[in-house]
Amino acid sequence: MDALKQPRPETRVITGNAAAAYAVRLCRPDVVSLYPITPQSEVIETLERFHANGTLDAEMVQVEGENSAQNVVCGASMAGARVFTATSSYGLVFMYDAILQTAGYRAPVVMVNVNREPPGIHAVCSGQQDMIATRDSGWIQVIAESVQEILDLVIMAYRLAEDREVLLPIMVNYDGFYLSFLAESVEIPEQEAVDRFLAPLNDQPPRPVLEPGSSKGCGAHGLGAGYVELRRKHMAALDRARGKFDEVDALFGADFGRSYGGQIDCYRTDDAEIILVTSGSAVGTARTVIDAKRAAGVKVGLVKIRMFRPFPIEVLTKALQGRKAIGVLDRSIAFGWDCGPMYQEIRALTPEIGTVPLLSFIDGLANMDITKPHIERVVDDIQRAALGHDYQSVTWIASGE
C-alpha cells in the first residue's frame, strides 16, 4: 500500500502530542481507540487525521468513554492485534477497572498518558497524580522528558510490551502542557528503520491469543493457587522488564543514534556528593541548574527516573549509594505519607542506600512552574543537609515553603 509509505527521515518542529502520534503510526497499530481529554486530545486527533489521509491503516474505534477505550484495546490485544490508546487524568481513572484487567490479562497494550491533575473540573493542568494513582495496577510505567524522547519512548514501548519475556501493558507518561503542547525540533525516523527495529518481535514464538473456533478462554484467573501462580508470573515479568528496558534502549541507540540510559539517566553523578532525583519535563531545567551549581563548585549530580514501574531498584541503589545527601523532587503527593511518591519509594531503599539525609520536595502541582530558582533552592537545601545542618524532610515548594 503506497499510502503507508512514510516520508523520508526528516526533522520537524512538532508538539509532544504530535510526536506521540507520529511514533504510533510508525509502529503500525491494528486497532486504535479514541476519546478526547485535554491535554491529550491532539494525540488521537492527529492519528485520526493520519487515518483519514490514508497513512494509518488501523481500525479506529471512536468510543463513548475511556472505560471503553481501554476495554477495546485489551480485547483487541487478546485477539492478537497491536493496539494503541491515549488518555489523561480523569480519563485514566475512569478506565481503572479495565486497567487492572488489561494488566491481569497480560495484554501488551501501549497507552500514552499525558499527566494531568485529577480532582476538580478546573484542574486542567499538569501534575503526575494520575500516574501515581495507577502505580499499583501492574502496568509498566515510563516517563519522557522531551518531545524527542516521547517519540522514541513510544517506539521502544512496543518493543518492550510485546516482548515474549514481558507481555505487559505499558503506559508512556509525559507532563501535560509542558510537553504535550511544547513544539520542539524532532527527528522522525524512517518507516523502514522502525519496521526493522520491531521485526525481532515477529521472530519470537507467537503469544497466546483468542481465536474463533478454538476452545480457548481468556480471563478466568482461577481461584487460590492458580490465581497466585499467575500473580507471581506477572511479578516475574515486571522484574524482567527492567533489564529488557535497558536492552531496548541500547538497541534503539544502535539503530537510531539516540539512547537515554535505560531505567534511569545519571547526569554528572560520577563524583557527586549530593544527588537530586526527579522525572519528566523538570529534568531539563534541573540539568541547567546542576551545570550552574557545578560551575560554582557544588558537587551535585542528577538522576532522572525514566521507568517508575517496575521501580528501578538496583540501578537506583547503585546511583544513590555513598552520597552525603539526596533530594527527591515530586510532581505529585503520596497521600497518607505527607511526602512525594518517588521520595517515598526511594526511602524504602534506605537499607540498601544507607542512612543519609533524604529530602522530599513537592513542586509543580497544577501547572505551577518548576523554575530554575526553585531547583537552585532544592539543591541548596540538599547541600546544607549534607553539611550536617538541620533540614526539613518534606518541603512543599508548591505552597511557597
Binding site: D30, V31, S33, A58, E59, V61, Q62, V63, E64, G65, N67, S68, A69, Q70, N71, V72, V73, C74, G75, A76, S77, M78, A79, G80, A81, V83, D97, A98, Q101, L210, E211, P212, G213, S214, S215, K216, G217, C218, G219, A220, G222, L223
Partner: protein, 316 residues
C-alpha cells in the same frame, strides 16, 4: 423423566432442532440452580449460533459456566471474560482485531439485565451507535441474581428484591423497569428482537437472523429468562412463566428488522397481567392499586409497540 423416556418421547425430533448447528457444547453439571432458564438459554444459543461463536461474559449467574470457575463442567466455545462495565467494548475490540486480520468471527455478548441495562449500559449504547458487528444477548432475569437478588433497572414495578423489600413501609420496587428492547431499537441498528424460552422456534429464527445481520452491524436480543430462585417459583414452572409473560403482553415477542417493527407472535386475547404475577412469589404482596399500575404500564407499552408495528403493516 428417564433417558429412555426422553428418547421415546422424542422419536420425532422437535421442529426447533432443525435450527441446531452442532451438538451441545456444554457438559452436564453446569452451575445453575435447578429449573433455571438461563441454562436452557445459553445451551440453545450455542446450538443455534454454532460452535465458532465467541462468548463475551461477565460476573453474573452465567459466569461460572461461561467463564470458568465451574470445576469439571465446561463448554467448548472460545470465550472472553471481562468486567461488567466492559462487555460491549471488549467485544468491539475482539471484533475489530479479527476484522483487521481478515478473520470471520461471531462475537456474542451474553449478559444479565443488570449488566446490560445498568452498569454496562454506556458501552452497550456506544457499541450500538457505532454499529459494531456483534451480537448482544441480554438474558433478562429482572435483577442482580448472582449477588443475591437485588434490584436492577430490569426489575419490574412492585417486585420484591433484597434492595426493594416488602415490609411495613416497603412495597417492593416503586418504579417500573426500563423498556430496554425499545431503547435499543431506538439506536437504529440492523436488528433488535425479544424472545423467550417457551417460544423456541421464534427464538431460533431470531438467532439465525442475528448471525446474518451481525455481519452488517449491531444486533440486540432481549430474552425473558425467569429465575426461579429470585422470582420465588417452583423449579418446574419456568417455561409456564415464560408463556404467561407472552400471553399477558407483559413480554410481547417482536422484532425490528432494520427499523421495521413486527410482532412475531400474536396473542389473540391477552390475559390480565395477574395471570403472570400470581405465578411469582416476588409479586405476591401486590395490592389492587399496584396491580392496576402494572397492568396500565403493560397496556401502555403494548400500545406503543402496536403503533410502531402498525406503521409498517399498513403499507404492505
Amino acid at each position: 423423566m428417564t433417558t429412555t423416556e426422553t428418547v421415546t418421547r422424542f422419536k420425532k425430533l422437535p421442529k426447533v432442532t432443525q435450527y441446531y448447528k452442532n451438538e451441545d457444547q456444554f457438559t452436564p453439571g453446569v452451575a445453575f440452580c435447578s429449573g433455571c432458564t438461563l441454562e436452557h438459554n445459553v445451551r440453545f444459543v450455542s446450538r443455534v449460533l454454532g460452535k465458532d461463536a465467541i462468548f463475551v461474559g461477565t460476573p453474573s449467574c452465567s459466569a461460572p459456566v461461561l467463564n470458568g470457575a465451574n470445576d469439571g463442567a465446561w463448554h467448548r466455545h472460545a470465550h472472553y471474560a471481562c468486567t461488567m462495565t466492559g462487555v460491549a467494548s471488549s467485544a468491539t475490540g475482539l471484533r475489530r482485531a479479527f476484522l483487521k486480520a481478515g478473520k470471520d468471527a461471531t462475537i456474542v455478548c451474553f449478559t444479565g439485565d443488570g449488566c446490560a441495562m445498568d452498569v454496562g449500559f454506556q458501552p452497550l449504547s456506544g457499541a450500538a451507535e457505532r454499529n459494531e458487528k456483534i451480537i448482544y444477548i441480554c438474558y433478562d432475569n429482572e435483577g442482580y441474581m448472582n449477588t443475591g437478588i437485588q434490584r436492577s433497572s430490569g426489575t419490574p414495578l412492585g417486585a420484591s428484591t433484597s434492595t426493594t423489600q416488602v415490609g411495613s413501609t416497603g412495597q417492593g420496587k416503586s418504579t417500573g423497569s426500563k423498556n430496554m428492547p425499545m431503547v435499543m431499537a431506538m439506536h437504529d441498528i440492523p436488528f433488535v428482537a425479544t424472545a423467550t424460552l417457551s417460544h423456541l422456534d421464534d427464538y431460533a429464527k431470531k438467532l439465525d437472523k442475528a448471525r446474518e445481520f451481525c455481519k452488517e452491524g449491531f444486533v440486540y436480543l432481549h430474552v425473558f429468562t425467569p429465575c426461579n430462585v429470585g422470582w420465588k417459583t417452583p423449579t418446574d414452572a419456568s417455561i409456564e412463566v415464560c408463556r404467561a409473560a407472552v400471553k399477558t403482553n407483559y413480554f410481547p415477542l417482536w422484532e425490528a428488522d432494520h427499523g421495521r417493527f413486527r410482532m412475531t407472535y400474536k396473542t389473540k386475547k391477552p390475559h390480565p397481567v395477574e395471570d403472570l404475577t400470581s405465578l411469582l412469589g416476588k409479586f405476591k404482596h401486590l395490592d389492587g392499586a399496584q396491580l392496576a399500575a402494572l397492568q396500565a404500564q403493560v397496556d401502555k407499552r403494548f400500545h406503543v409497540l402496536q403503533s410502531l408495528c402498525a406503521g409498517f403493516t399498513e403499507g404492505e
